[in-house]
């Protein structure tokens, strides 16, 4: 389907949403629309595909419910703005959208939106409710994530050789649907949680020395980054290996890359990369590499997060339960950069090549 055809479809879908609401009004019922629930009790883990999937539970947004009224109004405003964007063939950032819609409600001191935290989740609501992707609504988020390595990408007619971008690499945009992969030469993609570790490995020429592509998620991976990793894996058949801090937050970032996230469970199919493997940091690394002195004590929030992860169906395999249990028992976490206690080069010259070569990877 051409983008233009899809745009027309999306406009129709948005109009259908508006007609539904007008239908409610003419039938003397509260204006309403339904949104699939995105909480844990409506998330199913598809073990066979190793992906999170959205269940069929819906919640109803009703304008006459005083707790929903403002969100209902805001959702309609977002829908109206998206229709305008799609019709004009423009794409706005979610921050621009927020500013476009923010104003004082007539005769009050109240704003339509107080901060972007109010509009962002409603965009996801609208996507899932209308079954339309964010980019199809012509919305994008800020660039987040960096890629470096032996891959040539065609972007709007320009060729980008990601091995020739110096130390900075390619800034991964929110929408990468238009990317075309031209040439690739890599044994695997190393996805790294922290920018600092990414920089270290760039300086150590890790991609050149190990024939791999490197991606930094810079914390939790954004959609663009997840979609890019997914496409490289699916379209180019390059394996994905993930490298995070040894704590519940890092492990969760890994699970999002691999199986998808709860908030975007409706898009797991497009964003999750079930073949992803995990290289570190693991709890056994601490003993293996003598890192006992450079661990950090778990805080209460860390402990709480561990017990949450232990409840998630997609962490229910023996390797991960063992890691999390071990972490909880020892009461410590280990950062990627703790490897620098050995030497700056240690991670690039010994830790990663050795673990990857020996296949010491977690599923």
């Amino acid at each position: 389907m051409s983008p233009e055809t899809r745009d027309k479809e999306v406009v129709k879908i948005i109009e259908g949403f508006g007609d539904g609401v007008l239908g409610n009004i003419s039938k003397n019922e509260s204006p309403k629309f339904s949104v699939p629930l995105r909480s844990l009790n409506n998330i199913k883990f598809d073990r066979a595909a190793n992906l999170l999937r959205l269940g069929d539970k819906n919640s109803s947004r009703k304008f006459m419910n005083i707790a929903h009224a403002k969100k209902f109004m805001q959702s309609a405003m977002i829908a109206a703005k998206c229709k305008e964007l799609v019709s004009k063939g423009k794409t706005a950032s979610i921050r621009e959208l927020y500013y476009q819609l923010k104003h004082a409600i007539a005769n009050t001191k109240e704003n339509t939106f107080e901060d972007q935290g109010e509009s962002d989740p409603l965009i996801v609501d609208l996507e899932t409710s209308l079954k339309v992707l964010r980019e199809e609504l012509h919305l994008k988020a800020d660039d987040k994530g960096t890629l470096i390595g032996n891959i040539v990408i065609e972007d709007s007619g320009d060729l980008i050789d990601c091995s020739k971008l110096g130390r900075s690499g390619l800034s991964v945009p929110s929408i990468i649907e238009h990317y075309k992969f031209k040439k690739v030469k890599a044994d695997y993609v190393l996805v790294i949680e922290t920018a600092a570790m990414f920089d270290r490995l760039v300086e150590e020429k890790y991609p050149q020395n190990n024939n791999c592509i490197m991606v930094s998620t810079k914390g939790q991976a954004a959609r663009g980054c997840r979609r890019l990793v997914h496409r490289i894996n699916q379209e180019l058949k390059v394996p994905i290996i993930m490298f995070t801090d040894g704590d519940p937050w890092g492990y969760y970032i890994y699970s999002v890359i691999k199986a998808g996230s709860m908030a975007l469970a409706h898009e797991s199919e497009r964003l999750g990369t079930p073949q992803t493997k995990f290289v570190g940091m693991t709890m056994t690394d601490i003993e293996e590499y003598g890192l006992q002195k450079v661990t950090e004590k778990l805080k209460d929030v860390d402990k709480k997060r561990i017990s949450e992860l232990l409840q998630y169906p997609w962490f229910q395999n023996k390797e991960w339960k063992k890691e999390l249990q071990f972490m909880a028992d020892k009461g410590v976490r280990i950062e990627q950069q703790a490897l620098a206690s050995k030497s700056l080069e240690f991670v690039a010259e010994e830790y990663l090549p050795e673990k990857i070569k020996k296949g010491k990877l977690l599923p």
Binding site: I14, N28, P31, F63, M64, I66, A69, M73, A80, I105
Partner: protein, 554 residues
């Protein structure tokens, strides 16, 4: 029969009086100052106001006159005040002036089964004596019975003879009827607290809605409490005691004084609601012959009669002798003086407490407006504008002192106000009005500011307050809901102004029509919600009424 009884009782009073005369009046007063209400600077002043005002009200009522009362307090110096009290009552015949203003224990009220304000006959003479003891000055009385002859006397209490010492006597002509009393007081203090003269008169005005009261305070500020009713209550009538709740010694006292030939006829003639059929019924319950001479009744036999009384059913005591203020009268007075957002008045049917004494309870609950005691800026907690006040009355007379030991206070505090939606009773703009009506108010002491804890009295007050509180609760939840509804409507209408243009942009339909339809929908939906709530309210109300009555039976 009734007359004879009073004679007997008066003899007893004479005896009492003889004993009392053996010590000097001043000494008696000094010893009993606190009991007579003359303890503390503020209380002494309030007592003076009380004695003079009740005297005026009683006089007007007995004469069937709509009272107009004027009271003025002026400050002459440190702890030194002058008062002037005037009424439009029947006036006092000159020969009775000494008895009214300078004789202790002269009253006859003490021994009558009649509901009056003053009960122990110490009253106004106490004012004369207090003035005389603190300033050495006589009081001035001007009075005229409407015969164009005004009598003006200055008098002191002759403390050895317990009668008046006339300092000066004048008579002149004047077209006027009523009594005016003027005097000076030392060792007293005026303030506007809830135990001061102003509050006393404000409460008197609420409980005596047919009285018009003018008050001029020491700063010259004049307050007029207008009457809200022009019906003078009927003069009180005498009533026989009711058998329920009589004590053995009460019965024996009555029996000893009886001139009936048989216990049976003694019972039916001395007590209310005891018919000859009831006497026959009783004969089956007692072990001795009711044809016995009542003056020879033994303690054990009297006990049997009391037990039989307890087992038997009698008609409720007649409320004839009781004079409630009346629901409408209280309501009008409360509305006028407190201007509340909500008020409810409950009058309970007459009951008896121990001794066969009939009594009746009237309560009012007022919320919002000027109800409660206003909180001054400094001491106020956030959002608290008034504190709850309890207005206690005995026979329409305000009780301002000794609140903590009073049965009326205990009854009010014994109600679980939280159950009725009043979360913080003390910090609510509430006025709780409680009037205990009885021929004999069971005061804790002669200070007459505190009612003894009679179980039946407390129970009745609580019943009345609970009934009032339920009505308040319905109002209160309705109000709260209305406020919520209003807020909800405003919120929805506010968002409607943004929702309509968004929908117009999406659908391409006319924005004005969408706005109109949406506004209509919101208003209609809320109107239906409100109607549903009201229906729910009514069914709840019925359910509560049912459970309340069950509770009462237990």
């Amino acid at each position: 029969m009734a007359d004879e009884e009073i004679v007997t009782k008066e003899k007893n009073a004479e005896e009492l009086f003889k004993e009392f005369r053996e010590v000097s009046v001043t000494e008696f007063f000094r010893k009993n100052r606190a009991h007579l209400g003359y303890s503390g600077q503020l209380r002494s002043l309030t007592t003076v106001v009380h004695e003079l005002v009740t005297n005026s009200l009683d006089a007007c009522e007995e004469a069937g006159i709509l009272p107009e009362i004027y009271f003025e307090i002026r400050q002459l110096g440190q702890e030194h005040y002058k008062f002037k009290a005037r009424d439009n009552g029947p006036g006092i015949p000159v020969k009775h002036i000494p008895k009214v203003f300078a004789t202790m224990l002269a009253g006859t009220k003490f021994h009558r089964h009649v509901q009056l304000r003053g009960q122990q006959g110490i009253g106004v003479s106490g004012v004369t004596l207090f003035s005389q003891m603190t300033t050495g000055q006589p009081i001035t009385v001007r009075t005229c019975t409407g015969d164009n002859k005004v009598n003006e006397v200055k008098l002191l209490v002759d403390v050895t003879k317990n009668t008046a010492e006339m300092v000066e006597e004048k008579q002149y002509s004047g077209y006027w009827r009523g009594t005016e009393v003027e005097g000076e007081l030392k060792g007293v203090a005026y303030n506007t607290s809830e135990r001061g003269p102003y509050e006393y008169l404000r409460r008197t005005a609420i409980a005596n809605p047919y009285a018009e009261i003018t008050f001029v305070d020491p700063e010259g500020r004049k307050t007029l409490f207008k009457r809200t009713s022009d019906k003078v209550p009927k003069p009180p009538t005498e009533m026989k005691p009711h058998p329920k709740g009589l004590a053995v010694d009460d019965l024996l006292n009555y029996a000893k004084a009886s001139e009936s030939r048989h216990v049976g006829s003694f019972l039916s003639s001395s007590f209310a609601r005891v018919s000859s059929a009831k006497v026959n019924e009783m004969q089956k319950l007692v072990s001795f012959d009711l044809n016995k001479n009542p003056r020879k009744l033994a303690w054990a036999e009297a006990e049997e009669i009391i037990k039989a009384f307890d087992k038997m059913d009698f008609m409720a005591p007649s409320s004839e002798g009781l004079r409630p203020i009346g629901e409408n009268q209280i309501k009008n007075a409360v509305l006028k003086i407190l201007k509340p957002e909500f008020e409810v008045v409950i009058t309970r049917p007459p009951k008896v407490f121990s001794g066969g004494v009939p009594f009746q309870i009237e309560v009012a609950v007022a919320y919002g407006g000027n109800a409660g005691r206003p909180v001054s800026g400094e001491n106020s907690e956030e959002g608290v504008t008034a504190k709850a006040e309890i207005m206690r009355f005995a026979n329409s007379t305000p009780l301002l002192f000794d609140a903590s030991g009073c049965a009326l206070t205990k009854a009010v505090n014994g109600v679980d106000w939280k159950r009725y939606g009043i979360k913080d009773f003390d910090n609510s703009p509430l006025t709780i009005f409680v009037n205990l009506i009885s021929m004999y108010v069971p005061y804790v002491s002669a200070g007459k500011q505190s009612v003894a804890e009679e179980e039946e009295v407390i129970k009745e007050i609580k019943m009345a307050l609970m009934e009032a509180a339920r009505k308040f609760q319905i109002y209160h939840s309705r109000m709260r809901r209305e406020i919520e509804k209003e807020a909800k409507l405003n919120t929805l209408l506010k968002y409607t102004t943004e929702l309509a243009p968004a929908l117009a942009l999406i659908t391409g339909k006319d924005e004005k029509k969408i706005l109109k339809d949406l506004t209509h929908l919101v208003k209609e939906k809320l109107r239906i919600e409100a109607l549903e709530d009201e229906l729910e309210d009514e069914s709840e109300e019925e359910a509560k009424d049912a459970s309340f009555e069950e509770g009462e039976k237990e």
